[in-house]
C-alpha cells in the first residue's frame, strides 16, 4: 500500500508526478536544493524536505539522502521522474534495502537496460534489427579496428550513456584517436564507468519511441509511438504522436518488437523502447529507457491513459488497468519544449523570469516547472515549459500548438520560443518531411524587425516619457532581460554575432 510518495526530482517533471499523487489521494513529498526553496514543485507538494546545496551532485543526485529522508519521514515510495536516478539500478536497490518502493522497473532490469551493450545483446537474441556495432565494451585498439571495419563516420558511445550524453561522432581514425581518451574521461565523470563501444553511423534517420507499460503480473502493453526527431544535439524540441513516418504495418512491427523486448527484460512500470527509422523504411533497435519520458504527454493525450498514475499503481503491485485492446488512439498530439537557451546556438540562458503568461484554451496542456519570479539557474535541465496540443488530426494539433505558443509570453530569460514558432510554420515540418538533422540543417533565422514594431516601440517610449514615467531609467540594477539587451546592442552596433 502506497500512501506517501517522495518525488526525487525537480522542475516540470516533479510537478507532473505531484499532480498524479494528488489525484490519487496520496501525500506528495518534494525535495529541493538550496536554490530551489521557492520553486513550483516545493510549493505544490504537501510536504517538502531540503536536500543540500545547489549543485545536482550535492542535491538531486544524492540517492542516499533521498532514502534517508524517506525513512525518517515514513514515506512508502520514491518516484524518480526521469534522469540519472530513474536510470540507476544502484538507487533502485538502495530503495529496496531501505524498505521503500522504487516506482520503476526491477533493479536487474534497469541494470540490463543501462548497459547499452547488454541491451543490444537482448535485442539481437530476440531477432530485432540493431545498428551494426560492437557487442561488448572495447579497449582502445579494438575501437579503432571496429571503426575501420564499420567504415567512418562512426559513433563512439559510452556504454553507460543516456539522454544523448556520451555520444561522439568520429569521421577519421585520427579523430577517433583524439576522441577515445576524452570520451573515457567524460564517461567516467558523467556515469562513473568509462566503458565505450562503437556503432555504425546511420544517416537521415527518424527517432521513434514506443511507450510501454508493464506490471508485476507479467502483463505488458504498448501505447503507440512518439516521434522525437526534431532536436538539436541532445536537446529534444518537439514530440508527436502518432508519427507520419509510421504506417499501420510499421506500427504493428515496432509495437510488437517493443512489447517482446519489454517481456524479455521482465519490464515493470513505464518505459520507452527506442528505434531509429531510416529512409528505406528499415528500423533499428537502439535502447530502452526504464522511466517516464519528458515526451510522455503526447501519449497521454492520444490514449487518455495517465501514465504516472499507472506507474504508481503497478509499483504497489496492482495489475494494469488496461489490456492491449482497451487502449484506443484518438486524434493527434504535438508537444513543444520551451528551453532556456539562445535559439541560434543552444547555449544555456539564465536569469530571472520577469513576466510569464502561459497559454490555455481547448486542447492545450501545460507542463511547467517555472513561474513568474522564478530564477533560471545554469546547473539544471534548461526545460522550462512543455506546451502540448491535441487535435482530431495532426493539422489541427499543429494549428493549436501554433496558437498556444503565440499566447505564451516569457520575459527575462532568453528562450527558443521564436525558433519553435518558425519550425511550426515550415512547410517541410507540416508535411512531415524531416529527420533528426532537421534543426541542424536549418539554422535559426532571427526574424527581420518590422516598421510597425519600430513605430510601436517609439510610441511606447514617447508616451511613457510624456506621462513622466521614466521606467527603467532609474533602476538599471534590476535589469531583466540581459540577453535581449546584448542582442539589441549587437544589432544596434551592426555587429551581428
Amino acid at each position: 500500500m502506497i500512501k506517501q510518495v517522495l518525488i526525487a526530482n525537480r522542475g516540470e517533471i516533479a510537478v507532473r508526478v505531484i499532480r498524479a499523487c494528488q489525484e490519487l489521494g496520496l501525500t506528495s513529498v518534494a525535495v529541493y536544493s538550496e536554490a530551489d526553496r521557492a520553486t513550483l514543485h516545493v510549493r505544490y507538494a504537501d510536504k517538502a524536505y531540503s536536500l543540500g546545496k545547489t549543485l545536482p551532485r550535492k542535491s538531486y543526485l544524492r540517492g542516499k539522502r533521498m532514502t534517508d529522508i524517506a525513512q525518517e519521514a515514513g514515506i512508502d515510495a520514491i518516484h524518480p521522474g526521469y534522469g540519472p536516478l530513474a536510470e540507476s539500478a544502484t538507487f533502485a536497490r538502495c530503495c529496496a534495502k531501505a524498505g521503500i518502493v522504487f516506482i520503476g522497473p526491477r533493479p536487474e532490469t534497469i541494470e540490463q537496460l543501462g548497459d547499452k551493450v547488454k541491451a543490444r545483446q537482448v535485442a539481437r537474441e530476440l531477432g530485432l534489427p540493431v545498428v551494426e556495432g560492437s557487442d561488448a565494451p572495447l579497449d582502445d585498439d579494438q575501437i579503432l579496428d571496429m571503426a575501420d571495419r564499420l567504415g567512418y563516420p562512426v559513433l563512439l558511445k559510452a556504454a553507460a550513456g543516456g539522454g544523448g550524453i556520451g555520444i561522439r561522432r568520429a569521421d577519421t581514425p585520427q579523430e577517433m584517436r583524439r576522441l577515445i581518451p576524452l570520451a573515457r574521461r567524460e564517461a567516467l565523470f558523467a556515469f562513473g564507468d568509462d566503458a565505450l563501444y562503437v556503432e555504425q553511423m546511420v544517416d537521415h534517420v527518424r527517432h521513434i519511441q514506443i511507450q510501454i507499460l508493464g506490471d508485476q503480473h507479467a502483463n505488458v502493453i504498448h501505447l503507440g509511438e512518439r516521434e522525437c526527431s526534431i532536436r538539436f544535439r541532445q536537446h529534444k524540441l518537439v514530440e508527436e504522436s502518432p508519427s507520419l513516418a509510421v504506417d499501420e504495418a510499421m506500427r504493428a512491427q515496432l509495437c510488437q518488437a517493443a512489447v517482446r523486448f519489454a517481456r524479455a527484460v521482465r519490464f515493470v512500470g513505464a518505459g520507452s523502447v527506442e528505434f531509429l527509422l531510416d529512409r528505406e523504411g528499415q528500423y533499428y533497435f537502439i535502447g530502452c529507457h526504464p522511466c517516464l519520458q519528458a515526451a510522455h504527454p503526447v501519449t497521454e493525450m492520444v490514449t487518455g491513459v495517465d501514465l504516472v498514475a499507472e506507474q504508481i499503481r503497478v509499483a504497489a503491485g496492482r495489475p494494469l488497468r488496461y489490456t492491449q485492446s482497451d487502449v484506443k488512439f484518438r486524434g493527434a498530439a504535438i508537444g513543444c519544449r520551451l528551453l532556456a537557451v539562445d535559439p541560434s546556438d543552444f547555449m544555456p540562458a539564465t536569469g530571472h523570469i520577469e513576466h510569464l503568461a502561459l497559454p490555455g484554451g481547448p486542447g492545450v496542456r501545460i507542463d511547467s516547472g517555472v513561474f513568474e519570479g522564478s530564477e533560471v539557474l545554469p546547473y539544471y535541465n534548461p526545460l522550462l515549459v512543455k506546451v502540448t496540443a491535441w487535435g482530431e488530426t495532426r493539422g489541427v494539433a499543429i494549428l493549436r500548438e501554433r496558437r498556444a505558443l503565440g499566447e505564451l509570453q516569457l520575459m527575462g530569460v532568453q528562450t527558443n520560443l521564436s525558433l519553435l514558432l518558425q519550425l511550426l510554420d515550415r512547410t517541410s515540418f507540416i508535411r512531415g518531411a524531416f529527420d533528426t538533422s532537421f534543426i541542424e540543417e536549418r539554422p535559426y533565422l532571427p526574424e527581420a524587425k518590422s516598421n510597425r514594431g519600430r513605430m510601436a516601440a517609439a510610441l511606447l517610449v514617447a508616451l511613457l516619457r510624456h506621462r513622466g514615467d521614466e521606467r527603467g531609467k532609474s533602476h538599471p540594477a534590476e535589469a531583466p532581460a540581459s540577453a535581449w539587451k546584448r542582442q539589441a546592442r549587437r544589432e544596434m552596433l551592426g555587429g551581428g554575432r
Binding site: 565523470f189 510601436a456 527603467g472
Partner: protein
Amino acid sequence: MSRYRLIVDDEPITVEIDRGNQVRVNGRAVAVDLYQIGERSLYNLLVGGISHEAFAFAEGDTQYVVIGGQCYSVRSADETPVTCPTDICPDDEAEIRAPMPGVIVSLVAQTGQRVGRQDLILTLESMKMEMQLKSPIEGVVTAVKVEPGEQVSQGQTLALVEKI
C-alpha cells in the same frame, strides 16, 4: 506640444504629442492607446486599432521594448550612442574565461603545455550542455586555475595562455 526625437535601433522616429493628446509619428496622425497591465513593465498598445503586447525596460539612457518576440532599442536622438564594451586582450596573452556559470568537467591541457590556436584547454558543463573552451592563440599554458568538478562563475578566469 511635446516632441520626442528618438532613434529606434538605427532609425530616427519623431513622435509629437499635443495638448489634446493627439499623436503624430513622423508628421502623420495615428490613433494610439497605451494601457499598463498591472504594476509591472507590461503594456498593451493599440496603434490604429492594432494590438501590441509590449514589455519595456531600460539600461542607462537606452530603453528596450520587446514586441512580438523582437527587442527594439530606443534612445533620444541627442544622446550619444552606447559604446560597446570590449573584452579584447593583447595578442600575446589570452585568458580562458567561463562564458557561463557551470562545472569543470575535464582539464585537457596542463600548466606548461604548448597549445596551438583552437586547441582544447578544458571542458565546462552548464545545464545539459558541454562547452569546449579552446585557446584563442598559439602559446604555452601558464596557469590552470581550476580543478575538475569545481563550480565556476560566469567570467571567472580558468586558465592563462601566453605566446612564447
